[in-house]
Amino acid sequence: MPNIRDIVGYVETHDWGFTQGHRLCPGCNAPMVANWATLAAKSMGYEPVVAAATGCLEVSSTIYPFTSWNVPYIHNAFENVAATISGAESAYRSLLNRGKIKNDKIKFIAFAGDGGTYDIGLQALSGAIERGHDFVYILYDNEGYMNTGNQRSGSTPPGADSTTAPVGKSISGKLQLKKSIVDIVAGHEGVYAATAATAEPWDFMRKMQTALEFKGPSFIAMLAPCVRFWRIPDDSGPEVTKLAIETKYWPLWEYNMGVYKVTKKPKTFKPIKDYVTKLGRYSKLMKRPDANEILEELQNYVDAKWDRLLALEEISKDKPIRTKI
């Protein structure tokens, strides 16, 4: 794992992979994800080649004729970043094999939001993982189509206000729980998959290192608040994701070829209500008479998920189900 001295030393003498001039909102957590991922790769001696799905990070970082990317970068469309990077990675294997290029330090990193991952891009992601391409897919999960103004996605949690599932007089906003995206990815089996959060950069760095060194597809789902549509103060993104970890809303864990590991086990947990009431996106819900009922369901859900995670860790310990991709 790159230590803090290496990273500080690195940024003092090198350019960042993702640099200044982007037009993301103040307090947005997406640039942290882009920065940390490319930094981890570069400080480990790798040369990242990046692909991004359509989304906040993409539209805000490459407004022609400017680019914030100091590494090779491609954006193709919304739903196909995994397919696009699988093509780039295949080109790399072919050209290396044919001796047309010599650089063996290249690593492929794809970035996408939750719309481009849980919803429209899920098929391409599944295909690329199943084919075993060597790439790291980083989801910056802000739980909605925030680029276009807070529409509901497959990642939006129940009761959160959005413009396409608004909390109204008769319906309490989105009724469905979010997909468990890392479980979906883990279901491909021959993969490294993990959750991460902007509150825990070193946990992310360690997972990024595992992902980069994993000879095959890797996936990191980073909880990265949209301060604008989560209705939270600009400077509170990491603080909020810390609370998400402490309330079991977003446990930190990883899956590696069948083996589950919980990477952070808080000694005590806070109730889910502490998390929900911190986020302005739930304020309309909290005014509804069924708020407590919904909170209770959510509490039961996160408790059960946590217990399940511990059980998976226990039964899978030292028992990988696959030995090759």
């Binding site: 090779p72 193709n76 093509g87």
Partner: protein
């Protein structure tokens, strides 16, 4: 020495691809393109080529992977048909705008719906404005030859546009016919190596592909695509000439059959041209001055060539294997508008034929010619060959 092979059209195309030996092929099977992918997977599996094959989970991902690969500086190919092309369509436009020299055989098949797996040209016509160069081929030989020429044209620095090579579903793709295959080495030398200026894999000179291109530049970039298409038009005669040197086969924008003294001309694309040539021969024997024009290049549209060959003729009938609902059929409308500027305009007739694989017989072709010969052409009327009404 070139060899004669008697195989399906799909095999002929697969052999062209084998000889081009692209760095990457990403493809998804769809009837009637499937045998091309199957043959190619066999070449990879047997170590005959060292292409990296990406067996993607959809055509959308096929074109997406192809874009990622080509932007990484790899010579990249795919192939598809009909609904596969429709699913790709979003990325088909993106591939052209990123100026990626991808080559894609299209085994023409009717677009759904309702679902139909047989030949027509609705798939190619759906993406005629996508910025791809579009070749149309009559038979195995042409499908093979144009796949090789496509690679040469696409990668020219002043072109850098993707190319579709259209061949008729089942009729060409699954029919068995002889064609002459060039030596592997001859093709290898003809296509040369592909050394792009901008590659994602050049980490020393990082480039951004696919930025957000708003109202202040998008328009100029589209103008540049138009310029590239004009350059493709200018480069094509040179490609035809170079190809003649290695093959002895001379191609042009238009394949002209018995047109020199013809008063009446039929225009038709792909395999139906073979049937039409047979009918031209019959009518010639009967003393009728008829001829045939088969466009080999549809985009860039060879307007000047059409004007030259059609100016002063008595009658022209245009056969379209696609509908453009509520508007004139695609080939017809372009031919008709080309003639606006000629001194002596012929009478014109529009005929839609063969949709969904409807068999097109010599009698049907003859019917269209008869209309012309009898002075029974109405420019503003769409007629149908072989349709029950």
């Amino acid at each position: 020495m070139p060899v004669k092979l008697t195989v399906t059209g799909a095999a002929a195309v697969a052999h062209a691809m084998r000889q081009i030996n692209p760095d990457v092929v990403a493809a998804y099977p769809i009837t009637p393109q499937t045998p091309i992918v199957e043959y190619y997977a066999g070449f990879v599996s047997d170590g005959i080529v060292d292409t990296v094959m990406v067996p993607v989970e959809s055509e959308h991902s096929a074109m997406s992977a192809v874009v990622g690969s080509a932007a990484s500086g790899a010579r990249t190919m795919t192939a598809t048909a009909a609904n596969g092309l429709a699913l790709m369509a979003e990325i088909v436009y993106i591939a052209a705008s990123y100026r990626l020299p991808i080559v894609m055989p299209i085994v023409n098949r009717a677009l759904s719906g309702p679902i139909n797996i047989h030949c027509d040209h609705s798939d190619a016509m759906m993406v005629r404005d996508s910025g791809w160069i579009q070749f149309f081929t009559e038979n195995h030989q042409e499908a093979y030859d144009f796949t090789i020429m496509a690679t040469k044209l696409a990668e020219k620095e002043n072109v850098l546009l993707p190319v579709m090579v259209n061949l008729d579903g089942f009729i060409t793709s699954h029919g068995v016919e002889s064609f002459e295959m060039l030596d592997d080495e001859v093709v290898k030398e003809f296509v040369g190596s592909w050394n792009p200026k901008y590659s994602l894999l050049n980490t020393k000179n990082p480039v951004t592909y696919g930025p957000l291109d708003l109202f202040d530049y998008y328009f100029e970039h589209h103008r540049q695509q138009e310029e590239a298409m004009k350059n493709a038009y200018k480069e094509l005669p040179g490609v035809f000439e170079e190809f003649e040197k290695i093959s002895g086969r001379r191609y042009d924008f238009l394949d002209l059959y018995k047109v020199d003294d013809a008063d009446y001309i039929m225009i038709v694309m792909n395999s139906t041209a073979s049937t039409a040539k047979y009918v031209v021969d019959q009518l010639r024997e009967e003393g009728q001055k008829v001829g045939l024009v088969k466009p080999q290049v549809f985009t860039p549209f060879p307007k000047k060539e059409f004007q030259q060959v059609l100016n002063g003729r008595k009658g022209v009938v245009v056969l379209d294997r696609a509908m453009s609902f509520g508007k004139e059929a695609p080939l017809y409308s372009l031919v008709k508008s080309s003639l606006y500027e000629v001194a002596s305009r012929p009478s014109l007739g529009s005929y839609v034929y063969g949709l969904g694989g409807r068999d097109t017989t010599p009698e049907m072709i003859r019917e269209a010619f008869e209309d012309a010969l009898q002075g029974n052409l109405i420019a503003d009327e769409q007629r149908y060959l072989g349709l029950r009404e």
